[in-house]
């Protein structure tokens, strides 16, 4: 049975409202062909049988030209369409008003708002699709297209908790539109394509989730001019994936991504010349959370959070533009593994580090785990030139309470005027705090605070720390262990001259404090204080290759062995105070080649039978040596 309703009336003739009301009850296999052009009308359509179809006149195939057409040249229309399972809807909705569409299982709906076949794209519509899922495995396909219209609001909500493998495709080509997609269920796909650049802001919210569901997928986004986008996949389901990309030239977009439960994955990339975008990533699943954020443009703002009980969090960031800013990066889990600088979920993968080009900022980077592992493979902030590039890491924190390790493989800031305001590694368990390579080169770099601390058996280790090219500042470096862990700085070098280290502190209760090699080249470097305290062995070695360096204070204290080796090469170096106290053996070795150097050392041994030893060798004139030994 076929039912054709056609209603037309010229707007110039009628100023009052004309209502059109027709309700059709159709059986299985019913077809509704509708073409309505009017003003202020209401259409209610309900198809209760299976295999029903709403489309254009005399057609049962899908194409733009033969879709059901609801259009208005005057006032708003309200259209309510309800279909049962296995139905099809092909509809051009080119009017002002509200379209409410409720589909069943296996519904295949295509709704064009402001369709391309119409000469006057509509605007100000509200389109609501509500999917009522049928039995498990009933897939829904919905294509919602906004072409050229403005100010439309589209809400797509698939309420069926057991709906699976549904596809929601939206294409928006206009400005000031709002799209909301909610797709609970398993293995749903949400694809949004943002089209024409517009000065008006589109807003897209996409959510794919179901309790106990799996395989959610949200993406792909292309060309998001001035569009806030929020995507959430797998809030309560598993193995969800979000893939989004912005093409070149887009700017001022905002992307929000939220994922929970287990097995979440997000890949977000911004095009080469897109800029001023904002990305907020929240993954708080209990399994493996993995994300990659790639920015090749400038001046974007990133907030990323990965957390969850027992979760393994993996985040890769690659920024090649300038002025990008990471406001917050947070990874936390009670027993999982947190990894920055890894991209595909493989712990062994180290090829894609966190890299930021010039003028970049990391506001806060935090990793916390219980018995898990916190790992930063590589963080590199660099500029294209050696001129001032002003990269900043405000806070970088790794914390753990269990057996897991906190690790930073390589952290490098190059290009000059880079800043790390605070870098902290702390743990209460047996895990180690380790920084492999930390380097600031290019001049005028600053580390305001660098802290490694532990209360368990873990060791605090900095293998290599470099302040290069001069005029760098390290305000505070602290290693502390109240357990069995050792504090170790294997190599620390100040090159280029006029570097300044305010304080280096190593504190251990039962383990060793070691600075194997602290070298200063380039001259005129300053170290305010070096402090080592503990009951085991304290040892340090400091050397200069040019003159004019100053060490205000070196202090070694404890009941174990204190050993200090100072090598001054060059003129006018100063060790204002070296104090060794309490050790069963205090030893000091000074090798000096140069003139007008000043060395003052005091050794105070502990109980009877303990000893102080000072060895002084060298060549130079105008030097001042003051040694005091006490028992």
């Amino acid at each position: 049975m076929k039912l054709i309703i056609k209603y037309a009336k010229a707007l110039t003739a009628i100023w009052f409202a004309i209502f059109f009301f027709r309700t059709a009850f159709a059986d299985s296999g019913d077809y509704l062909y509708i073409n309505q052009i009017g003003t202020g009308s209401t259409v209610n359509i309900e198809q209760t049988g299976d295999l029903a179809y709403i489309g254009g006149v005399n057609s049962d195939t899908a194409s733009t030209s033969n879709r059901a057409n609801l259009a208005s040249t005057g006032g708003a229309q309200t259209v309510n369409i309800t279909q049962a399972d296995n139905n099809k809807l092909k509809l051009n909705y080119n009017t002002t008003g509200t379209l409410n569409f409720t589909g069943g299982s296996y519904t295949n709906a295509t709704i064009d708002v402001g369709g391309q076949t119409l000469t006057s794209p509509s605007s100000g519509n509200n389109v609501t699709y509500t999917g009522t899922a049928g039995a498990s495995g009933s897939a829904v396909t919905l294509n919602a297209n906004v072409q050229g219209g403005t100010g439309n609001t589209i809400s797509i909500i698939n309420t069926g908790a057991t709906t699976t493998s549904s596809i929601f495709n939206t294409a928006i080509n206009g400005g000031g539109n709002s799209l909301t997609i909610t797709a609970p269920g398993q293995s749903n796909t949400i694809t949004t394509i943002q089209g024409m650049a517009s000065s008006m802001v589109n807003q897209i919210t996409a959510t794919a989730d179901v309790v106990g569901g799996t395989g959610q997928w949200v993406g792909t986004l292309n060309k998001l001019p001035d569009t806030p986008f929020a995507a959430a996949a797998g809030t309560t389901s598993t193995s969800s994936s979000i893939v989004m990309g912005l093409a070149s030239g887009d700017s001022s977009n905002t992307i929000y991504v939220g994922q929970a439960n287990t097995g979440q994955k997000a890949n977000i990339s911004l095009g080469s010349s897109s800029s001023n975008n904002g990305i907020s990533l929240a993954q708080y699943g209990t399994g493996v959370n993995s994300s990659v954020i790639s920015l090749t443009g400038n001046s974007s703002l990133i907030n990323a959070s990965q957390s969850g009980t027992g979760a393994t969090n993996i985040l890769g960031l690659v920024f090649t533009g300038d002025y990008n800013k990471i406001a917050t990066l947070t990874q936390s889990g009670t027993s999982g593994t947190n990894i920055f600088g890894n991209v595909d979920g493989s712990v062994a993968n180290t090829v894609n580090p966190i890299t930021l080009a010039g003028y970049s900022t990391i506001g806060s980077l935090t990793q916390s785990a219980g018995s898990g592992i916190n790992s930063i493979t590589t963080i590199g902030l660099s500029g294209a030139t050696t001129t001032v590039t002003a990269n900043t890491i405000s806070t970088l924190s790794q914390t753990g309470s269990g057996a897991g390790n906190n690790t930073i493989g390589t952290l490098s800031l190059t290009g000059g005027s880079n800043t790390i305001a605070s870098l902290t590694q702390s743990g209460t368990g047996a895990g180690n705090n380790t920084i492999g390579t930390l380097s600031l080169t290019g001049g005028s770099n600053t580390i305001a605070s660098l802290t490694q601390s532990g209360t368990g058996a873990g060791n605090n280790t900095i293998t290599s720390l470099t302040l290069g090219d001069g005029s760098n500042t390290l305000t505070g470096l602290s290693q502390s262990s109240t357990g069995a862990g050792n504090n170790t700085i294997t190599s620390m070098s100040l090159t280029g001259g006029t570097n300044k280290v305010t304080s280096i502190s190593q504190t251990a209760s039962s383990a060793n404090n070691t600075i194997s090699n602290l070298s200063m080249t380039g001259g005129s470097n300053t170290i305010g204080s070096i402090t080592q305290s503990g009951t085991a062995a304290n040892s340090l070695a400091v050397s200069t290759s040019e003159g004019g360096n100053t060490i205000t204070s070196i202090s070694q204290s404890g009941t174990g062995t204190n050993g200090a080796s100072i090598t001054f090469t060059g003129a006018s170096n100063t060790l204002a105070s070296l104090a060794q106290s309490g050790g069963d053996t205090n030893s000091f070795t000074l090798a000096l080649t140069g003139s007008t150097n000043t060395v003052t050392a005091t050794q105070i041994s502990g109980a009877s039978g303990q000893s102080n030893t000072a060895n002084i060798t060298g060549t130079g004139s105008g030097n001042t040596f003051t040694f005091s030994q006490h028992r």
Binding site: G622, F625, F627, S628, R631
Partner: protein, 260 residues
């Protein structure tokens, strides 16, 4: 030098290994350097970079080369008073100023209870150096020993050994216009052996034994190769002395006063 080596060797034979407390090993060259070394405790040592606890050889002596250096060493302990400090120092150069004190000095570094046992071996080669050695103790324990070899002209040497222990000084001067002043005082017998070779050297020696046992002994040999040398020896307490003078031209004035 040969005598110096012999002295060192003999001392090495008799010097007992001491407790391992404060130890400075020094080998530095340069001009106008300032050294201020303070060792507070007992059995402190200032020696060479190869020195071990029981070793006492020339190669193990602290070595400073260069001119116009100021070298100040203070050894002692105002708490345990055990003493037994050791200085083994060689200085090569001119215009150096050495102040080498053991058991501290009169300026407040000791409370007067030092038990002595200090050893000091100094070797100075150069012109115009000023060497001041002070060894003092106030509590009877072990004697104190100082050996000094000076080579060069226009050097000034002052050695003061005070306290209740027996004091021994062996001094050798080779050069011209060098003045040596030695003062040994206390309640035990003292021994001094001075050999001076050169022109215009002088020795002013005072030995004062206020105790009731023993006699002071002074052995002075002056080898005058040109200008006359002079000796002024004052002894109180038990007195023995021997002055031998060989003169190429006119001998100098020898003055001996005893029992004053």
């Amino acid at each position: 030098m040969i005598k110096y080596l012999v002295i060192v060797f003999l001392l090495g034979m008799t010097w007992q290994a001491v407790a391992d407390d404060n130890r400075i090993r020094l080998n530095q060259s340069g001009n106008s350097d300032i050294y201020v070394i303070t060792q507070i405790g007992n059995s402190n040592t200032l020696g060479g970079v190869t020195q071990t606890v029981s070793e006492l050889t020339p190669t193990a002596i602290a070595n400073i080369s260069g001119g116009n250096n100021q070298i100040t060493v203070r050894q002692g302990d105002s708490q345990t008073h055990i003493g037994n400090n050791q200085i083994d120092l060689a200085v090569s150069g001119s215009g150096n100023i050495l102040n080498l004190n053991q058991g501290m000095d009169q300026n407040g570094y000791s409370n007067g209870l030092d038990q002595g046992g200090h050893h000091q071996i100094d070797y100075v080669n150069g012109m115009g150096n000023t060497i001041t050695v002070i060894q003092q103790n106030e509590a009877l324990n072990a004697g104190m020993f100082s050996s000094l070899q000076v080579i060069g002209n226009l050097n000034t040497v002052g050695i003061t050994q005070t306290g209740v222990a027996m004091h021994q000084l062996i001094a050798s001067v080779t050069g011209d216009q060098t003045t040596l002043i030695s003062n040994q005082s206390g309640t035990s017998p003292h021994t001094i052996n001075v050999t001076s070779s050169g022109n215009g050297n002088s020795a002013q020696i005072t030995q004062n034994n206020n105790g009731s046992v023993g006699s002071n002994t002074a052995s002075i040999t002056l080898n005058n190769y040109g200008a006359p040398a002079s000796v002024n020896l004052t002894q109180t307490g038990g007195q023995n002395y021997s002055i031998t003078q060989s003169c190429a031209t006119t001998c100098g004035v020898v003055t001996v006063k005893q029992g004053m």
